[in-house]
Subunit: 415 residues, 2 copies
């Protein structure tokens, strides 16, 4: 039997045990892991050093090596992340509703774990800890498949987690790591319907697309954000400027950063010169349509393609529109259903934008950067779903659960 099947069977078995654990026991396990990471810090750093050496040897680029690199501070922060998850409420076991039917059956809907969750991710070893902790807190077993660059770090971290769970008599098969990091095994994992209840990819657009295209296991698609800010004709110009600068430059490499501006023609003459100057001061490269370039001469020409791009960089596209209808149509055409904002003082336009834009999060007069589990008050985040099934927007603990119907009878049969 191959690695996937062995680990699938073990995880499925563990998931039944995990689903029955009390919150106290789950928190005891998490606490043991949080401590073990600190105690075994040097072992993790040693394994991580091998990964870094290999990466350098293979000529891997600096930003990836940065994501791969662990140090005392980062390990401490991984451990603290677990402590925070311990503090959160356990969603499992809540009965969301219970109603009595005319025939006397009492039918309720109860929150239960998903079962076995597969996570496919790239080079960040902190995801190993984070994904385990979120799944464990919600009574799920997790099968991890990290990037090959981080294999030594991940192996060591998973070994430490397993030992910590065993030390407090909890099932160590709550977590497992696929050691074979070949692409073929990843593809096979995407078809492991017998054991996996859901698959969550965490990484760049390429990884997510590969999972969506190949998986027969139900997937929660996360990530890609081509986010717009629409500056309406009745916008407060200062507020619009501050929000755009924040959404574009506070952290340009993340999915909730703003990639494109849409400007009402009535405010374009007043707003665009101020906005473009501020963007330029912040080293943002600007491309725009003809109407933008008529107003601000130094803006470069935007291609049709530009409006569909998630730059993840100091670059922004601008389009001037005749009215809010055109703004809404443009955004619904080019966006990736992530986060969209309108800046306006007009009630009806705010209402229309909120209603008609098709996205996970729609804002009036605030930065798109707030689309985040922590900022939404969930206390945790496993990713940001850009699909519509199951979860949409930031996913916290609740999104790692499902429900089952529980029905109490006293002999009812169907007529």
């Amino acid at each position: 039997m191959n690695e996937l099947n062995i680990k699938g069977i073990e995880a499925k078995k563990a998931s039944y045990l995990l689903s029955q654990l009390s919150s106290i026991d789950k928190n005891k396990g998490l606490k043991a892991v949080a401590n073990a990471l600190l105690i075994n810090k040097d072992l993790i750093l040693e394994a991580n050093k091998i990964d870094i050496m290999n990466a350098e040897k293979n000529g891997i680029k600096g930003s990836l090596i940065d994501r791969l690199t662990l140090n005392s501070e980062r390990i401490k922060s991984m451990s603290e992340g677990i402590e925070k998850i311990i503090q959160l409420d356990d969603p499992i076991g809540e009965v969301l509703s219970m109603k009595k039917r005319p025939n006397g059956l009492e039918i309720g809907q109860k929150v239960v774990p998903l079962g076995v969750i597969g996570i496919i991710y790239e080079a960040r070893p902190n995801v190993t800890v984070d994904a385990f902790a979120l799944c464990f807190k919600t009574g799920n077993a997790v099968i991890l498949r990290g990037g090959k660059e981080a294999i030594n770090s991940n192996l060591k971290i998973v070994e430490i987690i397993k030992e910590a769970l065993e030390s407090v008599d909890l099932p160590s098969n709550a977590v497992s790591l696929i050691e074979d990091t070949s692409r073929e095994t990843a593809i096979n994992m995407m078809k492991l319907n017998q054991y996996l209840d859901v698959l969550i990819p965490r990484g760049g657009a390429g990884l997510i697309q590969a999972v969506v295209n190949n998986s027969t296991v139900p997937v929660i698609e996360t990530g890609v954000g081509n986010c717009h800010i629409y500056v309406d004709k009745e916008a407060n110009i200062n507020m619009a400027k501050d929000i755009v600068i924040n959404a574009k430059t506070q952290r340009p490499g993340v999915c909730n950063a703003c990639e494109s501006l849409v400007i009402h023609e009535d405010i374009a003459n007043d707003f665009l010169p101020i906005m473009c100057d501020e963007l330029s001061k912040n080293n943002v490269d600007i491309v725009g349509d003809t109407r933008t370039r008529d107003i601000v001469k130094y803006v470069n020409e935007a291609s049709e393609e530009d409006y569909g791009l998630e730059y993840l960089d100091y670059k922004i596209s601008i389009k001037v529109v005749n009215n809010i209808d055109e703004a809404i149509a443009h955004i619904n055409k080019y966006n990736t259903k992530h986060s969209e904002a309108i800046i306006t003082e007009n009630y009806s336009n705010a209402k229309r934008f909120m209603n008609e834009i098709d996205a996970a999060a729609v804002y009036v007069n605030a930065s798109t950067r707030f689309t985040d589990g922590y900022e939404f008050g969930f206390g945790a985040e496993i990713g940001i779903s850009t699909q519509k099934l199951h979860a949409r927007g930031p996913m916290g603990l609740k999104e790692l659960t499902t429900t089952k119907y529980i029905i109490y009878g006293n002999g009812q049969i169907r007529k």
Copy 2:
């Protein structure tokens, strides 16, 4: 451009209009369709007659022809089905929660349509009306791909629906039917991620498996039910007998019918002879393990395979177990996560069974036949989900919706 892309674009466009309709307008559209079906009854029957003639010519078997066949009564019942959907509450637009964050942002979660729903189904033309009505009520556009056997009936029905919607100035692209019923086009529809937000297969195990294996569009898996009844040692024998007979024989061809009995050894001697006699009287073919056959001689031998089968027929398998642990393990191994029941008067065993069985619906002392949107009080049903993402168990109107986060600010930027 091919049919799928043309209809995909039209449906996506219509979905934006539908998402903004009031409940009054949606009910007006449904009412127009309900009337039009009655008025145009003869046209539908004429088209249906061609399908039936073709089916007979192609030697298609009787049960399939029965499902395909329409008559005045069935068309009336389709129309009445729409009237019932009109009476149901519209779930769209409800804000499930709205909280104020420390920074003043007010964050709410609002119920919205899924967008464009694809339905792939087999030879029953009533699904055409039913699926349209449920999707329309929830503000979704629907693209239908029915079986080739029903193509003439479906074409006529969809034409009538479209005309009825147009007659009350509502978007007729709310519904479309894929006219090319080739397998190739079905497979391409399963990969129409650009336009389809979700795909729901309705039909037999083969169709569902084909959709799960080929679809890159998120799927809601419906259907297959290998349902068990566990008769615990402290069961009321009469209640157990009545429930088993109901669950097995009231309608054996449906997914919530019982396919397998699991019996505690302490009750087997008293219960099995009575139960097997009653099953035999009801023409149910019985297969069982050695322990069952030691007690009831005329029971045939069950193969390992039998325990995994959804017979959908007058046949049942029986297994005797040592204790509830073995019962739970057996059911979790062989079930299809649909509906499972325990018959017991013992509190702790009932509690364990409810907690530890992994299924969409778990019963104490009632027939598995109640797993159904109407019996659960939803007033409608689009199918029974056996997956864990998004919807689990019977799906009503609520399960055809998603949410979006709505965020009201006054200039907030992220620190």
